[in-house]
Symmetry: C2
Subunit: 307 residues, 2 copies
Amino acid sequence: MKITALSGGVGAAKLISGLVKLTSPEDLTVIVNTGDDIILHGLYISPDVDIITYTLAGLVDEHRGWGIKDDTYNCLSMLGEYGGETWFNLGDRDLATHIFRTKMLREGLTLTQVTKKIAGLLNIRVNILPMSDERVETMIRIKGGGKINFQRYLVERKARDEVVGVEYVGAGSARPAPGVIEALLTAEKVVICPSNPVVSIGPILAIGEIKETLRGLKAPVVAVSPIIQGSPVKGPADKLMKGLNLEVSSRSVASLYKDFLDIMVIDEKDEGEEESIENMGLKVLKTDIMMRNLQDKVRVAKLVLEA
Amino acid sequence: MKITALSGGVGAAKLISGLVKLTSPEDLTVIVNTGDDIILHGLYISPDVDIITYTLAGLVDEHRGWGIKDDTYNCLSMLGEYGGETWFNLGDRDLATHIFRTKMLREGLTLTQVTKKIAGLLNIRVNILPMSDERVETMIRIKGGGKINFQRYLVERKARDEVVGVEYVGAGSARPAPGVIEALLTAEKVVICPSNPVVSIGPILAIGEIKETLRGLKAPVVAVSPIIQGSPVKGPADKLMKGLNLEVSSRSVASLYKDFLDIMVIDEKDEGEEESIENMGLKVLKTDIMMRNLQDKVRVAKLVLEA
């Protein structure tokens, strides 16, 4: 079965780790958020693409969910001595990815081409696609004025600012990366990973052609909620959703996707949300959606594939 | 006493380590060869500038004479997994220098400005100047045809090719970096470090304005030979000199510099060269020029300063 997933970083990587155990890797395409890409030290960093890549390559630091396991931080430490920014953790092996990517981008390759090349060199057979080759930057509007890059909001400022809005700068004119629309149109199932709906899935949906294509799909679209009992499994989804005056709940996530969604997978502990979601015309599946280990990941992935 | 030194890498760094113990650092200017600069992994690497900088910062790997002590090689190892070139050793901390330099060069700073900034951040008070802000590339012509970058000749191909010539590509039109001519004109003594005359001092002298200025100087010019008893203290000077049909000897080095040289410091073991050098109209000083430790470095530096 050909599967196409929309993905952010750490949460999505868990479900994808499960999906890849149940499908032929060539049949799986992952369309990854690039809204939180950032240039630091002159290097182009694509955090969500890297998380998915490192996860599928078996390189990821499993404990943190990002970066490369057993990495060292000597280059970053020296960059700090040169007055460089050290708030964004960049391991020595991880930096090789950014150096290699930046070199190829400067040589004229697209982000799609570079992502494919890196994946191939790491023997990944899953098709990892950035959502766009054009720059879309997720900017967080914070109370007191001002807009800051999402990574600065999340990592540098530790999500302490009060969010009053989110903008996907560049999304209005950005085209989907080559292969993205085709992967959606040819998929037998489309999966919205349990990622932050505002800053991980939101930027992907902000690209008009992607959202339009999802709306017209005949294949079923299944989303796994990133929220359990009103709290995000990980990350600042609650702060971001509140900042947009959204209820922090699985039904609220479903309402963001309802134009194109068919099935919503929510946690079995989520009481009283089922009816609201069904009233949107969606089917609801309930299970334990917390993915602690590979067994959990495969179990949730299996439910998604059978949905 | 204001001293200006012309310098390559490892050999020069030894003498400069001695000179800086005997002078006020602000009175010492080092004009460094950039002919063997190379771009690898999209990063601008300036090997001789880095050796001098790391040496003066107390960071250098004393055993090798280059790189940063106790460095790790995890980024380079991962770059290798991406198919990148790994023949040029780049430590993780060392890479920070190249990342930082490349970023600033791309932002429009000159190599002189970047070199000064890095030195300042490492609390170096000696004035380190690249010979030029323009690209001069030392190319080795090898038997069988073809020209290769000096680092590729020396490090990648381990100096195994037979040398038939050397070209300083770009030197004809390159201007000295800002401050270079002034540093020569205001020096009370100019020192030619014990560096490879062909590929370390040669590129500096290939810049017409520098050589002309040296020729017209009133201040004494002192060179320390990089050769003892017909063999280079370190590196491939013998192969390069032979390739240019030059005798591998201190007197041969003196003859390359004789247009502007006043005093030649040679090793006490060099028999029978004194007269040839004196016949060029130069003064000769003899001592043990092998600099094994700081005491040796200071001793040779003292002789140079008193010459």
